[in-house]
Amino acid sequence: MKQSKNHFLLCGLKKAIHGLFQQTNSAALGVSLTVMKFRSRFVLCLVAALAAGCGERPWNDPYPAADNAQNILYSSFEQRPKHLDPAQSYVENEYALIAQIYEPPLQYHYLRRPYTLIPLAARDIPKAVYLDQDNRPLPENATPERIAYSVYDVTIQPGIRYQPHPAFAQDASGTYLYHALTFEQLEDIRTLADFPQQGTRELVAADYVYQIKRLAHPGIHSPIFGLMSEYIVGLKEYGATLSKAAKEPANQPYLDLVRYPLEGAEVIDRYTYRIKLHGKYPQFLYWLAMPFFAPVPHEADRFYSQAGLIERNITLDWYPVGTGPYMLTENNPSQRMVLERNPNFHGETYPAEGEPEDQTRGLLDDAGKPLPFIDKVVYSLEKESIPYWNKFLQGYYDASGISSDSFDQAVRITTQGDAAVSEAMQGSGIRLLTSVGTDISYIGFNMLDPVVGGLSERARKLRQAISIALDYEEFISIFLNGRGIPAQGIVPPGIFGHVEGEAGINPYVYEWVNGRPQRKSLEQARRLLAEAGYPGGRDAETGKPLLLHFDTALSGPDDKAYLDWLRKQFQKLNLQLDIRNTDFNRFQEKMLKGSAQIWQWGWNADYPDPENFMFLLYGPNAKAVKNGENAANYDNPEFNKLFERMKNMDNGPDRQAIINQMMDIARGDAPLLWGLHRKKFGLYHAWYKNAKPNEMANNELKYARIDTAQRSKLRAQWNRPNLTPLFIIMAVLLLSLAPAVLGYLRKERSPAP
């Protein structure tokens, strides 16, 4: 019915335009004729091309006709990924791709909360064996001081195979076809798909060891090499060995890491490898769920090291080789990137258990079914939020975040204060899912600064007073549309160490009133300020007003409102805030030198462990001293000592008690204003199934399912072309010309005076 209606409309249009063209042709006036002819022909061409290009689908469908009603998920990317090499990649938008391709030994359970590690390529979760200085085994409950080494034996599942890839292609004699490409062979090669032969092989333990060695490769610049050098035995020295070896002519262009053993990572048998760490580092298991520890076959490294391929931008950093459910089949980051189902995927099933409410939400409907559900994922480049949002509303993207501009259109706050989708969205079947981010966004004080820094009582009280005055509840309401939770400490909700309720509030800033935290009064803040030696915001000794400096790289028009708001927060205490704007480079430089006074920063969890947040306050990790992540340069010996104890402990009451002590110290010292944890809002169309926000897992695509029939139906319904306004505009233009044309004709026909 819909198709015949469209066809009819199109024929009618062509006739109408043809008629219009004929009428115009008969007019006597040249100028009008030229313009009208041109316009008519243009519109005719436009309509004809649209008809040819679009067929029976909506005219504004941005995807090829061949993809219509296919089992494809449509998503977008804003920035081209910089790295797809698992040893280098460390950014969310890169993980969105490579986490679907590479399979580290472990992964996070998709549905369970708190976040739980489960095996992925590994057979089970490896258990640490502790050794003393002489490599003698220690009991499981040995104290960290006695533990010199931790050893993890990881056994992977047999039978896992890599995606089809030319690096594995061999001839009948077992010689690799493309490991020594000739000029002639390279002539027709533009992308990886141009290789006629593909191959595969079984995943083995050596591939994981090879990747660990790659972390030290001098040409790769792995961001975790520095950190892992402190833990993986011999990795630091290994980096130096490789740097030296890379300069030898024999190792050009390919440095074969297999020839260089690494003490801390060795193959035990075909499916087992061993990682040896210095000391006790229980958080290491979380790293085993990140792409840094995914397998890379040495064949791929050798294949991609060929100069002819590098010249053609065919590198491992651009064309990943994995065992995961998807493989990257199109990599055109200036337009689109495409993941397709890996035909060699070893198989995995949808989880059969989750949180209690998952059953009612329909998240267990697919329990036990083989993964992945979707055949293909198309990521289109979408740099601007407005076209992206409009295309989501038209059904051309399956899910979307919500920008501030679109918030009121998308979300309404219920009388109970909860967020829900607006009525218009609800009518379209769009669902809203929210989650609290495993992150923190805070304002910090430079503890090296002579005014706001240091652990003196005067500085501490000044910081506490500012902490009370700066109203984060207001900030969240004004600038984030309520999408945030004021932080009571540095550990976000959902991560061990975070305490809910009265016991978990920051007593220096909040009071527990009527079952909820309430910010202390400004009067208390002013009292603290006076005790700090700044009564009424003036230095008691000099009488001069206290001038503080906020260093920032925020300079856009949207940021001005925020900076004005910030200034007003300080004015509540009669404190003057000088905004020192600079570009991001200079800002980073100031932070590195420790010359910024007050600033804004944030942290996104690598893994769900309090150590990954508490280390932001660990003294030896100071940014200005060691280029670490402790941006406040906070250094309290008592806190440091507790951190060193806490970081190696297993989760339990003892660890919680230490975390509580640490938080008491840090809250009192107030090196940070703690800020907020962001609430993430995601919108999903009715046809998008099994959506559950997971802040730690990046490989969620395999769980998603699309009802393609429903999508096609709704897209067609929402995107019927409307040509009436075009005709109205043309008619108005023509009518406005009519009096002048008639006047001219009259003048031309009238006899000369």
Binding site: G30, V31, T34, V35, F38, L46, A49, L50, A52, C54, W59, N60, D61, P62, P64, R80, K82, H83, Y90, V91, P218, G219, H221, P223, F225, G226, L227, I310, N313, T315, D317, N332, S334, Q335, S380, L381, E382, K383, E384, I386, P387, N390, K391, L393, Q394, Y396, D583, N585, N627, N719, R720, P721, N722, L723, P725, L726, S736, A740, G743, Y744
Partner: protein
């Protein structure tokens, strides 16, 4: 004429060196090689050692413009400026910070840019001339008055408004074409249509005003008076004589921008998701990728100089009185 072209080509060399030096200084006033390394390596867990390694690998560990530590010519040749600039004159653009060939990217991306820029120019020129003729023809009437007012309004409106308005009306409300995206070949027509329409409308106000002025200027000349005295109709005067003579400044004005069409439009490409050279340049600036910025500025300068040269040549073609010596 050949001597003239050779001389102009030689003049271009110091201009290009100057442009290159200016780009270099401006870029490195804002970004140090350390900043570039940090932008490339990310902000999490980046060590100074990794930054030094990155700089050394890409040749950013040398002094910027003068190498005090070197002797003789080495003071100039052993610098980032010299090493990064010399190859440009052989049109070897090298590699971006992500390792991809800049030359390859330029040759791939100039086609989408041209796919938008050429129809926008041709259609825009045709429409602007047609409307300018219409206003000139009805000069002094209400059409001229309201046409002029409309042109001024169109000139006053931001280009961004046309883009967002076009996407809203044509893509979102009327569902006629995709809001954004790109595809090569015939199928790509539906992606190109909207940016071209927006590009044409965006440039129409100023185009019509300019061409109307050119037409009116011609209308005041002696040969027009003579034509009228001979009894030619106003239509004949305008379309046969005035149009032909006014085309000389119009065409020479167009020739100067022809080569720069390759470079695309910065905002248009970004909003419509066109993978052209305009968006390539914007991305490079945001990513602090000096290699791309330098290559694009150099290419822009070369094309602009080429455009000016072509303009001079085109004068000799359309006006036999002009001689290049």
């Amino acid at each position: 004429m050949i001597a003239y072209i050779v001389r102009r080509t030689l003049y271009a060399i110091p201009i290009l060196i100057g442009v290159n030096l200016l780009t270099f200084v401006l870029f490195f006033v804002v970004n140090s090689p350390d900043d570039m390394a940090r932008a490339h390596l990310g902000v999490k867990r980046v060590t100074q050692e990794a930054i030094e390694k990155w700089k050394a690998e890409r040749g950013y560990d040398k002094p910027l413009i003068i190498n005090e530590g070197a002797a003789g010519v080495g003071k100039i040749t052993g610098t980032i400026f010299f090493e990064k600039s010399l190859a440009l004159f052989a049109f070897e653009f090298g590699r971006a910070d992500d390792g991809r060939s800049i030359g390859g990217e330029i040759s791939a991306r100039m086609w989408p840019s041209l796919a938008i820029a050429v129809p926008t120019l041709v259609i825009g020129l045709g429409v602007a001339i047609s409307f300018a003729l219409l206003l000139a023809f009805f000069r002094g009437s209400y059409i001229d008055l309201w046409g002029g007012v409309t042109c001024i309004i169109m000139m006053s409106v931001s280009g961004l408004f046309y883009i967002i308005g076009g996407q809203y009306l044509i893509g979102k409300l009327w569902h006629l074409v995709p809001i954004s995206g790109y595809d090569a070949g015939v199928y790509g027509f539906k992606f190109i249509a909207l940016p071209v329409v927006v590009g044409v409308i965006g440039g129409l106000g100023s185009g019509i005003r300019l061409y109307r002025t050119l037409f009116l200027e011609e209308l005041g000349k002696d040969y027009v008076r003579t034509a009228r005295a001979k009894g030619l109709s106003e239509r004949r005067v305008l379309f046969t004589h005035v149009l032909k003579n006014a085309m000389i400044p119009i065409l020479t004005g167009v020739v100067v921008i022809l080569p720069t069409l390759f470079l695309g439009s910065l905002i248009l490409e970004s909003f419509f998701g066109i993978p052209g050279l305009g968006s390539y340049t914007i991305d490079a600036i945001q990513a602090q990728d000096f290699a791309i910025v330098r290559a694009m500025v150099f290419l822009g300068s070369v094309l602009y100089i080429l455009g000016l040269l072509l303009t001079d040549i085109s004068y000799t073609l359309v006006d036999p009185r002009v001689r290049l010596t």
